[in-house]
Amino acid sequence: MNEVHWGLLVAAYLFLAGAGAGALFISGSLVLSNKIEDKHHLDTAKISTILGTLLLIIGTGMIVFDLTSFQYGIAHGDMSKFFRFYRLFMTFEPSSMMSIGTWLLTLAIIFALLFCLSFRVKANQPGYSRPFAMINVILAICVASYTALLIGDISHNLVWSNSILVVIFLLSALSCGAAVVLMVKTRLKITDTNHSFAKSDSALLALELLTVCVFAYSIRNISIFNGVDNLLSISSDAGAIWWLGAVLIGLIMPLLLNVTSIIGKTVASHSKEYLLAVLILIGAFCLRYSVLLAGQYY
């Protein structure tokens, strides 16, 4: 019966920050690995970094749009409220995940930008990007898990305060990153001939599916224990989004697509790869949206 205070915009924030972090993680890893020697891997890394950075920035924008002070500023033409979010940067509150996140994202965005620039400055010396890649990989893990910690810090929340969410959000961020990278690759017309991408993606998705099911099961039990209807029951909005969006569209279908191409030993068509990526991204968004909603249902 609580009002839904955190809806689409916050879901978009969690999703975009996760996807951006995922993309940065993968591009960082590419740079750190030897693969970077490959031109097309280098291009993939570059573009993924840029995309990841953009996603981070847009994601952070979402949280600002969600601020009631910001919305009030727009609705009432009140500049002081419009710019009120600057308050976030006037203090560091170590007890507040939101404050930690603010600075974390700020740092992440700064280093992501530097990472982007590093490609440009010494375009042909990937080695130059390495330290930035290193930092970005670490920050990416922090950002991806932070999105779970932000809501997980609400300790009385039956849905959010579930530690497995950190793992789920991390895995999901990675698969989002992978999806972004996949799109980049597809765009660059790089084909996944020996199914190495499909294999690792499948493994990731399968792992995620497992954790997601464990989570859903624990929510069911928690719901029963607290005498409420299953907070992720398919009959609720959150449950429907969860089961159809996050699980079916975001995990099972991509998994099937991957597995069919691995088993069929066929190279996935570009359109199929786009589809795969889009499904994963939709799924990841649904995952966060449904978790947000379910946590505000009682």
Binding site: E3, T68, M98, L158, Y298
Partner: protein, 238 residues
């Protein structure tokens, strides 16, 4: 007794009994608060005196300038069955101005904090950015809300504009049942102190460990463990 709980669940509209069903008599919490020796403003609501008139709700809105459908306090009303007989259940709820508030630590700007001098948990409307994090963090559904006049978060602050000026909160002044009593629980001579020591006060959702400063007389254990929300639908029109 089971009956009563079921009736409550059916009608309170979304209220649930929560984890960690816990019986924490308010006494030990009060003792802990007193140990600090500081002025601690608090409210006692004697449910046996409350008749659900909602004068408190309306006066709070008038005094604090919230929109008619935005409430710092609300009275949950439903029926309860006890031993085959039907009774009314009237439960005023509001921000508990907790001793260890879970809303404060999460605030990224320091806009919401607990005042040293009297224990009131305030929101500084010039600092609040409206991220709603504190709303999520408070286990008491709806006691924090966005004041649509300011676009920032609002809540009961024990009518600080009155209580810091030697006056009583608006809801206390006009409580037709005389159910609400306000004062400093660290002043042993205050009415509220005496009331607390003579009765067996309870708080809502003690298991949430926020150590509320709103105490109830006549609350049952089940009710204390139930998560009521200010947004529960107002179905009791009687």
């Amino acid at each position: 007794m089971l009956d009563r709980r079921r009736a409550l669940k059916l009608l309170a509209g979304g209220a649930i009994a929560t984890t960690g069903v816990m019986f924490i008599p308010a006494g030990s919490a009060i003792a802990a608060i007193r140990q600090q020796g500081k002025k601690r403003l608090a409210m006692v609501i004697d449910l046996s005196r409350c008749n659900g008139c909602k004068a408190c709700v309306v006066s709070c809105g008038m005094e604090n300038g919230t929109k008619p459908d935005e409430h710092r306090t609300q009275v949950i009303q439903t029926s309860a069955e006890i031993g085959n007989k039907q009774y009314a259940f009237n439960l005023p709820i509001m921000c508990n101005n907790c001793e260890t508030p879970s809303c404060v630590s999460v605030c990224p700007t320091g806009a919401t904090f607990k005042r040293e001098e009297d224990g009131i948990v305030v929101v500084d409307s010039t600092l609040c950015i409206g991220c709603n994090y504190c709303i999520q963090a408070c286990p008491y559904g709806g006691v924090r809300f966005t004041n649509s006049t300011t676009g920032t978060v609002d809540k009961c602050n024990f009518c600080i504009q009155r209580t810091s000026r030697g006056l009583l909160p608006a809801c206390v002044e006009t409580c037709t049942g005389g159910a609400r009593v306000f004062g400093d629980i660290n002043d042993v001579n205050s009415e509220i102190s005496k009331l607390l020591s003579q009765s067996n006060p309870m708080v809502l959702q003690a298991s949430k460990q926020t150590s509320p400063n709103v105490f109830y007389i006549g609350l049952t254990q089940e009710e204390s463990n139930t998560a009521f929300s200010i947004h529960s639908p107002q179905l009791w029109q009687r």
